[in-house]
């Protein structure tokens, strides 16, 4: 894997200077490659993983499973892309199995989310059914375990 991407995927705030020190390269060289990765769209965005529960301004999340009638010319894409434009929608994925699309939705309350699904998603042309699963507690997000306990301490000096 591209080493710069790997480092940034763990810490979006790593500076070119810091990355350069880790890789034994020059800062300019790393900065140029990051720019290229951004320009070509490999790097889409730098985000922060937040434990919303802890941040106390809690959001409500739900996973919505959708069954979709296939459109002749565009397949799933046109429905999926329409759904993706709503700002309440966090992710849209085509999945294998019982359902076709898996959509995560964020709202201020369960009511918010339920109404959003009922008013905006369910009536869309091509959407045959929706099944809403509210997320009750999150244990791991984006590879970060949210419920981890502190690591036990090592001895301070060993041979």
């Amino acid at each position: 894997m591209n080493e710069i991407l790997q480092i940034l995927s763990e810490n979006a705030r790593a500076t070119p200077a810091e990355i350069a020190a880790l890789l034994g390269r020059t800062e300019e060289d790393v900065a140029r490659e990051i720019k290229e990765l951004e320009d070509s769209g490999v790097i889409r965005k730098y985000i922060t993983i937040i434990d919303w529960e802890k941040a106390s301004e809690g959001y409500v999340y739900a996973v919505i499973e959708l069954k979709v009638a296939l459109q002749r010319s565009t397949g799933y894409d046109s429905v999926a892309e329409r759904i993706a434009r709503f700002s309440e929608v966090q992710s849209v994925r085509l999945i294998s199995g019982d359902h076709d699309l898996s959509v995560t939705v964020r709202g201020k309350s369960m009511r918010d989310v339920a109404f959003f699904v009922a008013e905006k998603i369910a009536p869309l042309e091509g959407v045959q059914s929706t099944c809403t699963h509210f997320i009750l507690k999150s244990y791991k997000e984006h590879g970060v375990i949210l419920t981890d306990k502190p690591k036990p301490k090592r001895l301070v000096i060993t041979a």
Binding site: I7, L22, R154, L155, V156, I157, T158, A159
Partner: protein, 396 residues
């Protein structure tokens, strides 16, 4: 009824074995006590991974306990584990060891080191120990009735063993040579051609080679080679290895010895009377680690390599000259220019800037003038430690 008797004052000292009593105290111990008094010190003094054992390995152990694996095992270790070790060794070094009689599972490499000396040394036999090196060899040789002959490796040779460095120490009593590469504390490795350079001498004097390769998986530039890989050298080499460093499993206490069936048999004899077997739960975990642990192992190695670059270039930048450590997870910068001894430097750095490092002389006389800094600690701590060391140097 109580019988009163005249009892002279108890003198425990008088009851100790002279050999044990006279064993020099570990230099690390004194420093440990010092560091322990200071809270909040950043420690670059730790000789073990900062990673917790990968979850799949811990989970396999938990499952084995749930399934009731709580018994003794074969003295040599579980057959499945010896098979896994044989496959792993074949893959890493291209060498064949028969799980039936050429592999012994021990409680850490520590036990394997002890067994190797006890199984091969007669009273007065000499063992050449290139220094600086891990602290256990010299006391273990003495406890086995042997005589350690320390020889210095030099920074100009990249802390590698050369024929010139060992030749003067060879006598007719010389029985064995210890090789410990990748090296703790210097981070040096020996490549195949470095080993070839000393092979003739080893054959000429009919030496046994005891090769501690516990850091063998952790090399970042250059390729680790085992003395056993050299043509005709397999039978006179005892390879000691384990999972402590490569798989972040120090607390599990699993190591192993590979070698000639008669030597492994002799080591097994001692092991069966003193240890019986390595703990079964740790053996179960080790099987999982060897069979399915490669990805996690490589991930940790990659992280060490990033830190190595960050830390070593940092040391050189702030004025602590340091040769490139090619293996293990230690940097060994020189402090000769400061005019301080290793111990004085380490003690003052600890008191004034709360950074703990290990004075190089703890690993042998030739380590004087150096410090061992472990980079098996987080990047943030390494960066903070570099800042503090720079401040310290500025005030000298």
């Amino acid at each position: 009824m109580t019988i009163l008797r005249e009892v002279p004052a108890w003198n425990a000292e008088a009851h100790l074995s002279r050999t044990v009593r006279d064993l020099p105290p570990s230099g690390i111990r004194r420093f440990f006590d010092l560091v322990n008094e200071m809270d909040e010190a950043i420690s670059l003094g730790v000789g073990e991974p900062d990673f917790v054992t990968p979850w799949h390995v811990r989970e396999a152990c938990i499952y084995s306990l749930e399934s009731g694996y709580t018994s003794y095992t074969s003295n040599k270790g579980m057959p499945e584990l010896r098979e896994a070790i044989a496959d792993f060794t074949k893959e890493q070094l291209g060498l064949d060891y028969d799980p039936g009689d050429q592999i012994l599972v021990t409680t850490g490499v520590s036990e394997a080191v002890d067994l190797a000396f006890r199984a091969t040394l007669n009273p007065g036999d000499e063992v050449i120990v290139p220094e600086p090196c891990y602290v256990a060899y010299v006391p273990d040789i003495i406890l086995a009735g042997g005589v350690p002959r320390q020889v210095s490796t030099r920074i100009d040779d990249g802390f590698r063993v050369t024929p010139e460095s060992i030749l003067p120490a060879i006598t007719e009593k010389t029985k064995a040579l210890v090789l410990s590469y990748p090296n703790n504390p210097t981070g040096a490795i020996m490549t195949r051609s470095d080993l070839e350079d000393i092979a003739d001498l080893v054959v000429e004097h009919d030496l046994l080679v005891i090769s501690d390769e516990v850091y063998g998986m952790l090399t970042y530039s250059g390729t680790h080679a085992s003395f056993a890989q050299l043509d005709g050298m397999g039978e006179r080499t005892i390879i000691l290895n384990g999972l402590s460093k490569s798989h972040a499993m120090t607390g599990w206490r699993i190591g192993y010895a590979l070698g000639d069936p008669r030597i492994i048999g002799a080591m097994t004899k001692i092991h069966q009377y003193t240890m019986l077997c390595a703990p079964i739960m740790s053996q179960m975990a080790a099987i999982e680690a060897l069979l399915h642990g490669e990805e996690e192992m490589l991930k940790m190695k990659h992280e060490y390599n990033l830190r190595r670059r960050l830390f070593v270039s940092g040391l050189n930048r702030i004025g602590m000259p340091c040769i490139e450590p090619q293996g293990a997870f230690y940097a060994f910068p020189s402090i000769i220019d400061t005019g301080l001894s290793s111990e004085a430097f380490a003690e003052r750095l600890l008191r004034e800037q709360k950074v703990a490092v290990v004075p190089g002389n703890v690993f042998g006389q030739s380590g004087e003038g150096f410090l061992r800094c472990s980079y098996a600690t987080s990047r943030e701590e390494l960066i903070e430690a570099l800042d503090r060391i720079e401040t310290f140097l500025g005030r000298l």
